[in-house]
């Protein structure tokens, strides 16, 4: 099986996000960047399937030069090779123009299955996977927690989280699956893995290689624009309820919830 994993580099979840004073974006100079956590599940699942069926795992990443670190992490985990869309023309896009570039890069490749993350934890769009599936003309299943590929590698049975339970869906391959936490436990890159990763192929792809119009991708091709960013209102320190006994504090709290907050 040939499996593609779309991977994005994002700020670590620990990062404090500070908006630039002019609202044009966030301050990213002091942020640690990592592989999007949901994409780790995608890489892991691809590796598990490769162990079973053979084939290759290819990482596809659109991002600046800095993203090479996250790509190397994926290769160190065990992916075979990577495609890095590292042309500045691809950057600053929304889900539509990002998916457009990814689709163009993937169209020329051989694949039986594509993994994306459920969402990227920076822009929180949860949109690139479905958009990519639409552009490639293949089905999507989002928020996936289990994947079983048939012996012949032609179809898959997939669990996806819904309200109050799960749906089990059968889908012919290729398809785009977006990985949710719970799908697996991503492995850590081993030391030999890290050494090997250095020698693995990372193909750099520029806009000319894909024959795309510069106005169709990145910021220029986006269908939505961030007009302004701002910080959420800071929550004030709370009212710590004093009392001698649990009974007293609980009673005071119940009264405040009813009379002041009016939520019960």
């Amino acid at each position: 099986m040939n499996i593609i994993v779309c991977m994005k580099q994002v700020p670590d979840t620990e990062a404090q996000i500070r908006v630039k004073p002019d609202g044009s974006g966030i301050v990213d100079s002091d942020i640690k960047f990592v592989m999007n956590p949901y994409d780790e599940y995608g890489v892991e699942e691809a590796l598990l399937l490769k162990e079973k069926f053979g084939g290759t795992v290819t990482i596809v990443c659109l991002g600046s030069e800095r993203a090479i670190e996250a790509i190397r992490t994926g290769l160190a985990m065990g992916a075979d090779k990577a495609v890095h869309l590292d042309d500045p023309a691809f950057e600053g896009g929304d889900a539509f123009s990002t998916a457009k570039a990814l689709a163009a890069a993937i169209k020329g490749m051989e694949y039986d299955l594509i993994f994306c993350g459920k969402q990227a934890i920076d822009d929180d769009l949860a949109q690139v996977g479905p958009a990519l599936a639409e552009m490639l003309g293949i089905p999507q299943i989002v928020v996936v927690t289990k994947v079983e590929v048939s012996e012949d590698g032609k179809k898959a049975k997939v669990n996806r989280q819904i309200i109050g339970g799960e749906e089990i869906i059968e889908v012919p391959l290729p398809a785009v699956l977006t990985a949710q936490k719970g799908l697996n436990e991503p492995r850590y890159a081993s030391l030999p893995g890290i050494m090997k990763a250095k020698k693995k192929e990372v193909k750099s792809v520029k806009i000319a290689d894909l024959g795309l119009d510069p106005n169709a991708v990145g910021k220029a091709g986006a269908k939505t624009q961030i007009l302004k960013m701002y910080s959420p209102p800071q929550r004030e320190s709370g009212n710590i309820i004093e009392g001698e006994t649990a009974e007293e504090t609980a009673s005071k709290l119940a009264t405040l919830l009813r009379e002041e907050a009016k939520v019960i």
Binding site: T13, E14, Q16, I17, D94, A95, F96, I121, D124, L125, A126, Q127, P130, A131, Q140, I141, V143, K157, N159, Q161, I162, I163, G164, E166, E167, I168, I169, E170, V171, A175, Q180, K181, G182, A222, K223, T224, Q225, I226, L227, K228, M229, Y230, S231, P232, R235, G238, I240, I241, A246, E247, T249, A250, L253, A254, L256, L257, R258, A261, V263, I264
Partner: protein, 330 residues
């Protein structure tokens, strides 16, 4: 030129979801300002009876798109039904709730229509020149953005449940109901639902709950969640958990609140034995009221809550359940 504001009216178990009414109410104001009509779209099988529910919240028209193949939600079936209708009538704005269904359907529809989609919005409105724009959290709510759209239409947005306020329904308002037939063949639907597994005890999805009671590592064990369930019962709340509680196997992944779990904005969030880590806060920081029960006076959560009790949760929670029961009886 594209005209009309449309709301995808989501339904389940025979009723229209509340988020639809929240969106219709807010969209009504926008429709009045720009002088366009407000339409609801109901997709399904034998769903005409639901159409009457949309008029009282402001819909002028309700399109009812029916087909046997739409009995169960599938990405491909619903995408076809909705995009065919949109292409025919060309609305200027298309909205839905940022629910499990909305999050699957709208990205696909937007890509097919080659238009812009802003997801999980917390507000929608018009700028000074009457252009539609939205506000949405990014970085799990650590930052917010105002987002505008290119000229492509419809301008699409999904809106988080529980943030817009529904108007009181005006039962005298009737919407025109328009039935639409859509052609869908079994071949159109490649990803087929073969089974639905319900998880017993899980009632309302966390993202739609108005009150949430959550437990963290301080709960010490799965069996102790019983006291939270009892509190939830009197508050009509849904029970959630921190990642520490989920990783310990006490609660399901689908019950995790936070940056890598569900992002919720209930009216009331009661955090029990949760320290308030940045990733947890990212998932519930927009709750209207936050209550923290924690025995550590230094717990970060005390700096970000509305009401805090610094004590042993095993003493406080059962008492709180009792006190609320008493209040509710009066």
């Amino acid at each position: 030129m594209a005209k009309g504001i449309w709301v995808f009216a989501e339904h389940s178990d025979g009723s229209v979801r509340k988020v639809t009414f929240e969106i219709l109410s807010e969209a009504r104001k926008i429709a009045d300002k720009i002088g366009e009509e407000l339409c609801a779209v109901i997709v399904g099988n034998q769903v005409e009876a639901l159409a009457d529910k949309c008029g009282p919240y402001g819909a002028d028209k309700v399109y009812v798109v029916e087909n046997e193949m739409l009995n169960q939600y599938t990405t491909e079936g619903y995408t076809k039904a909705l995009t065919d209708l949109v292409k025919q009538h060309q609305p200027s704005i298309l909205l839905c709730g940022a629910t499990v269904t909305g999050k699957d359907l709208f990205p696909r529809v937007a890509a097919r229509l080659e238009t812009g989609l802003a997801v999980d919005c917390t507000d929608i409105g018009l700028d000074d020149s009457n252009q539609f724009f939205v506000k949405r959290p990014m970085y799990a709510g650590k930052a917010y953005a105002e987002v505008g759209f290119s000229d492509a239409t419809p301008k699409m947005a999904s809106i988080r449940p529980n943030v817009l306020i529904p108007s009181p329904p005006d039962e005298s308002r009737k919407a025109e109901v328009i039935k639409v037939a859509v052609e869908i063949s079994p071949d159109d639907i490649k990803a087929k639902v073969v089974e639905v597994v319900k998880i017993a005890g899980e009632k309302l999805d966390l993202t739609e709950a108005e009150v949430i009671v959550s437990g963290g590592r301080g709960m010490k064990g799965q069996e102790n969640f019983k006291i939270l369930e009892e509190l939830a019962e009197v508050l009509n709340a849904t029970v959630g958990a921190s990642r520490a509680a989920v990783d310990a196997g006490w609660k399901l992944q689908s019950e995790q609140v936070g940056q890598t779990g569900k992002v919720v904005s209930p009216n009331l969030y009661v955090a029990c034995g949760i320290s308030g880590a940045i990733q947890h806060f990212a998932g519930m920081g927009t709750s209207k009221y936050i209550v923290a029960i924690n025995k550590d006076p230094e717990a970060v959560i005390f700096g970000k809550c509305d009401y805090g009790i610094c004590d042993d949760l095993f003493k406080v929670v059962p008492k709180l359940t009792e006190e609320i029961k008493k209040l509710k009886k009066d």
